[in-house]
C-alpha cells in the first residue's frame, strides 16, 4: 500500500477520495488540477498529462479546477480528456487548443428496433453496403457538393440545414445537442481556405479513430434509463464517430497560429504555445468563438448527412425498419453554459476537449423524453472492444461542470502499434471473433488495434464510480467501417 501511494504521488497526484486525484496549486497555477481515475488508470498515465493539467490551471479566469477525465491522455496544450471552465467576467480565456483541431468531433447512435440476431447472414451484405455508401478515408463526400455560399448555410444551420435539405427527419433535431444548430455561429469569420477544405467533405467519415459501427447491446446496467433510451439486450444499434473534417481542422490551425501572438499582446504568459488563447471578451476571442461555432454546425450537419446515408442503406435491406436517433454528442467544444459555483449561477465558457457534456436529470437542455434519467452520454470503444451508453448525473455538475469521458483513450502510440500488429492479420483475427471490419486502409487499421487503447470497461466503471455519469448499456461491435 505504501509503495503504491509513493508511486502515485511520484506521478504528481494525491488521492483525495476514491477515484479522485489532485495536483496541488503551486507556482503559476491559479486552481488545483484534478483527475478522475482509478489507481490503475493513474499509474498508466503519461507524465505529460500531469504537466498539461497543471498548465491549463495557470490560464486566466479558470474556475474551480483544471480537470481530466478517466480516459485522459497527452494532447496539445490541453490534455485529451481535459475539461476547464473560464469566467468571461474575470478575465477568462478561450483557447483553440482547448477545443482541438477536430471541432465538435462526436458520436451519434441510432436504435433500429431490430435485434442484432435478425441480421443473420445479411450482416456481411449490410456492412459492405455501408462501406460502399458512406464516404470515408481519402474519398470525398460525393453525396453533397457545395459552393462557398451554400457552405455558409451549412455553417449557420448545422443539422437543421441538413434536415431542410432532406437529410434525415425533423424529430432527429430534438435529440442532438443544441437542437442540431449551434447559436452564435459566424460563417463570415471562417476563412475562405477553411471552406475550400470542406466543399467536397460534407457527409464523409474521415479516418483515424473515426468509424461507423453496427453494435449489439450486450448488457443493461440501468433499466429505467435503458427504457427511456429505448435500448434492450440484443438490440441492434448503429453508431457514427466523426467530426468537422477539413473545415474544423483549418479553423483550429489558423486560430492556434493567430492566438500565439494575441496572447502575448494581452499579457497572457503561455507555458506552452499550444495553450495560445485570447480573452473571451476580446475581438479575437469573439471571432474565434463565432468561427468555432460554425465548425460545430459543420460537424452536426456532417453527422446528420451520414446518418441519412445509413438510413438509405437500411431501407434497401430492411424496408420496414426505422432508425431512430438515440442522441448525438460532441466531445471537442467550448460552450457558454450556466453552472453553479459556490452557491451562485455563473455563465462559464466550458472547454471540453475529448470530454462529453453530461447533464443530469432535470436539466432543461436534456430532451423531455430523457429528462428524468439524464442526458445520454455516448462513449466509443475500439473496433474490437465494447462501447458504452451512459447517462448524465446530477453529481457531475459539482464535480466536473457536468462532464464525462469520451472514449477508451489511447495508451500506445501509432508507431508502436504498427510494430505490434499488421492490418490484414488483425482484421482476420477480429473476423474470427465475429467482428467484420471494413477498412479503407489496412495500414491504418493496424494503428487502431484494440490493444493500443486503454480498457474501456475500466474507463466507464470509473466514470460511474467517480460520479461523472452512470452506465446504462454496454454494447459490442459486430461490424465496423473504418476510414
Amino acid at each position: 500500500m505504501s509503495n503504491e501511494r509513493a508511486e502515485s504521488s511520484a506521478a504528481g497526484f494525491r488521492e483525495v477520495e476514491p477515484n479522485v486525484w489532485e495536483i496541488e496549486a503551486t507556482g503559476a497555477m491559479r486552481v488545483p488540477g484534478r483527475i478522475f481515475a482509478s489507481r490503475e488508470l493513474v499509474d498508466a498515465l503519461d507524465e505529460k498529462v500531469r504537466e498539461q493539467v497543471s498548465n491549463v490551471a495557470a490560464l486566466p479566469g479558470i474556475v474551480g479546477a483544471s480537470l481530466a477525465m478517466p480516459d485522459a491522455h497527452w494532447g496539445y496544450g490541453f490534455p485529451i480528456g481535459g475539461v476547464a471552465a473560464f469566467d468571461p467576467d474575470r478575465g477568462g480565456i478561450v483557447s483553440a487548443g482547448g477545443v482541438g483541431f477536430d471541432i465538435s468531433c462526436g458520436v451519434r447512435t441510432f436504435t433500429t428496433g431490430m435485434k442484432a440476431a435478425d441480421l443473420g447472414e445479411r450482416l456481411e451484405t449490410v456492412a459492405h453496403d455501408l462501406y460502399r455508401t458512406v464516404p470515408a478515408g481519402v474519398g470525398w463526400g460525393g453525396s453533397v457538393k457545395l459552393t462557398v455560399p451554400e457552405l455558409d448555410e451549412v455553417l449557420a444551420g448545422g443539422a437543421v440545414w441538413a434536415v431542410e435539405k432532406g437529410w434525415g427527419e425533423a424529430e432527429d433535431l430534438e435529440r442532438i445537442e443544441e437542437g442540431g444548430r449551434m447559436a452564435g455561429a459566424e460563417p463570415s469569420w471562417v476563412s475562405r481556405r477553411a471552406k475550400e477544405r470542406q466543399l467536397h467533405e460534407v457527409g464523409s467519415l474521415g479516418s483515424g479513430n473515426h468509424y461507423l459501427e453496427l453494435q449489439v447491446v450486450e448488457r443493461i446496467f440501468d433499466a429505467p434509463a435503458a427504457g427511456a433510451f429505448r435500448v434492450a439486450e440484443g438490440d441492434l444499434l448503429v453508431t457514427i464517430h466523426c467530426g468537422s473534417r477539413g473545415l474544423g481542422h483549418q479553423i483550429g490551425t489558423e486560430y492556434l497560429q493567430k492566438f500565439v501572438s494575441v496572447a502575448s499582446r494581452y499579457g497572457i504568459a503561455l507555458p506552452d504555445r499550444e495553450l495560445a488563447c485570447a480573452p473571451i471578451r476580446s475581438p479575437e476571442g469573439e471571432e474565434y468563438l463565432g468561427a468555432m461555432r460554425a465548425g460545430i454546425n459543420c460537424a452536426l450537419a456532417n453527422r446528420q448527412v451520414i446518418g441519412a446515408l445509413v438510413r438509405k442503406v437500411f431501407a434497401r435491406h430492411f424496408p420496414s425498419v426505422k432508425l431512430r436517433l438515440l442522441y448525438d454528442v460532441s466531445h471537442n467544444t467550448c460552450k457558454a453554459e450556466e453552472h453553479e459555483v459556490g452557491g451562485s449561477k455563473r455563465l462559464l465558457f466550458v472547454h471540453r476537449k475529448g470530454a462529453t457534456r453530461a447533464f443530469g436529470p432535470g436539466h432543461p437542455d436534456v430532451p423531455l423524453e430523457y429528462r428524468d434519467v439524464g442526458q445520454p452520454v455516448l462513449i466509443g470503444g475500439t473496433m474490437g472492444t465494447a462501447s458504452y451508453v451512459l447517462a448524465g448525473t446530477s453529481r457531475s455538475e459539482s464535480r466536473a461542470f457536468s462532464s464525462s469521458c469520451h472514449g477508451a483513450g489511447r495508451k500506445m502510440s501509432r508507431t508502436q502499434a504498427k510494430t505490434m500488429w499488421e492490418g490484414k492479420p488483425l482484421i482476420r483475427e477480429l473476423a474470427g471473433k465475429g467482428i467484420i471490419v471494413k477498412s479503407h486502409t489496412a495500414k491504418g487499421a493496424a494503428e487502431e488495434a484494440p490493444g493500443a487503447y486503454k480498457d474501456v470497461d475500466e474507463v466507464a466503471r470509473v466514470a460511474e464510480e467517480a460520479g461523472l455519469s452512470r452506465r446504462v448499456a454496454r454494447v459490442l461491435p459486430i461490424a465496423c467501417v473504418k476510414g
Binding site: 481519402v138 466543399l199 477539413g246 490551425t253 501509432r414
Partner: protein, 140 residues
Amino acid sequence: MAWEHFEHAADVGVRGRGDTLAHAFEEAARALFSLLSDLTAIRPSVEERVACEAENLDELLVAFLNELLFLFDARREVFGRFDVRIEKTSGRFRLEATAQGEPFDPSRHEFTVLPKGATFTALEVGKRDGEWIAQCVVDV
C-alpha cells in the same frame, strides 16, 4: 537526407533531417506525405507553389506543413518531391517552395491516416549532431 516518424501518444511525429535547413524542411514534408502514400508511388505530374512566412523557424515549419495539408484537402493532391528555399528578410523568415506530385489515386496510393494539422507539440527546428532537423507532431 532522411525522414522518419517519431512517437506521440495519439498522433504522429514527423521529422526531416538534412545537411541544410531547406533539406530538413523538404524531408519533414516527405515524412508528412508518407502518411498518405508510399512516396515512391507518387508520380511528379503536377507542380504546386507554396509560400509562407513566420517570425521564427519553428513556426515556419508548422506553417509550411499546414500549407501542404491545405493543398491535399482542397485539391486532393499528394506530393513526393519538394524544393524549398528559406530566407530571412527584415526580421522574418520567408519560405518559398515547389511541391511535385499528382492527384490522389486510391488504386495506387495507400494511405495510413489523414493528417488534420501540424502542431506546436515536440516542435523543433535546429542543428543536432552536425545536421539540421525539422520536426513536429501532426494531429491525425
